[in-house]
Symmetry: C2
Subunit: 291 residues, 2 copies
Amino acid sequence: MMSKLSHYKELVDNFINELAQIKRFPPIFQEALFYTPKSGGKRIRAMLVMCAADMFGADETKSLHIASAIELMHAYSLIHDDLPVMDNDDFRRGKPANHKVYGEDLALLVGDGLNTYTFNVIADAPIDDARKVKIVKWLSNNAGIGGMVVGQVVDVLSSRDRLKGHSHKKLVNFIHKHKTAKLIQASVVCGAICGNPDDVQLDRLAKYGLYAGVAFQIIDDYLDVVGDEEKLGKKKVDEINNTLTYPKVYGLKRSYDIAQKLKDMAILQIKDIKGSKELIDIAKLIVERDR
Amino acid sequence: MMSKLSHYKELVDNFINELAQIKRFPPIFQEALFYTPKSGGKRIRAMLVMCAADMFGADETKSLHIASAIELMHAYSLIHDDLPVMDNDDFRRGKPANHKVYGEDLALLVGDGLNTYTFNVIADAPIDDARKVKIVKWLSNNAGIGGMVVGQVVDVLSSRDRLKGHSHKKLVNFIHKHKTAKLIQASVVCGAICGNPDDVQLDRLAKYGLYAGVAFQIIDDYLDVVGDEEKLGKKKVDEINNTLTYPKVYGLKRSYDIAQKLKDMAILQIKDIKGSKELIDIAKLIVERDR
């Protein structure tokens, strides 16, 4: 199993490295543009795309573009999240954040560029137009104002006491569902769309993505409390930023239990679909990782 | 003629007003998201989309989504351009800039959201999938790292003396072509794609868009020098920001002449295509306007 996931990760790393080779003026822009996408990471979204595609009969040549595109989208969100006006995080994956290397101005524009470029990579994918349009529709909703962006909005506003009258439980659930889980959901769904899922299967995959996505964020925050800084490769900025997290709202033990429960719910959605072994493994990996 | 353009503007204003009515949590986000798209402007990009569509047999119900989507893309670029880390402009169209009303954090996210939402609106347009994919491909290049974004990168870097060894003429041409003209070009091309242009016609429209787009930016900078602040509705921030402009590089008189020349070159590309009257009129309007 791990070798298949490692293989997908390697394909995506190589694909992004190739995009990074395309000559662009000015050279500093070309460098800044791919600094974050190339800086590793687990490529969990890409793996979800490619496993889901494989499940429904689309081989890796078809899903690779989509997997890489979603990693570019994810990279833009990290770059903007780290900006001083957002989470003000100087480090990402143990390296200086994009704006610490290239300046806030260039980092902002590089994020903008990657956001838009995502759709260019999708438009160029070797799949038919109907599939591309479905993928654009899902991703532009889930990574945008119907998902990731509004999640970050509520995160930022609530941490700055600009959202009154809502319970912390409601807010932290909204934030995790939108900021993290919707992009995870789009990853599995867009991967599946590369192949031939039926509507019921797509709906089950969407639920799997949402549950696994929330579990992913809970474990992230959990590790942020119990893990050491070196392992996570970033400072514990949640405390400084007054960010709402599951450990803060539900306590450490209960948060871990909720993540386990969500993992089980995610697996339950897909375990009867043929070829779901990898997605089940990824759901387990999400809650069992130590970084 | 004017009534047709006014009609298009009204359709786009109404379409965007309808999008702004969709209930979103939190309400401040819904408001901030459409503050800039609703704040008027000439809607010249939308008019270009709809006139080009009309030229090639696509009626306004088909082009309206695309026209509105491109105005959302334009609005995101204005919001991000005005941020303190970019041009630091407090006013836009005579009103406080988005970040002056909602804060830099929300303005950054609203810009991100509009960028992504543009592709959602395109995916929902009442045209076939092949056309949608072509439009996504053009727009994601021309509004992104192959156009608007890299234009702003070079603008910002050159104004901050971070790009050495290039002539001012080379830089100002690169900036205008990419930052402004490429989105104007995408507008006419994407409009035409709604209908049935042949490859030669599409190529001519693309050239028209590039020439008219550069002329548009030259006149903008020209008016910034000769016009008064009230008319343009913004402070003369180019001087403060050390921005490269045609008037600065070529002088005021020569800049105006170059814009006229570009207008003629734009018109020459399309004048033999049936139904090009409106696009010819817009090219004239671009260089003859006083704001």
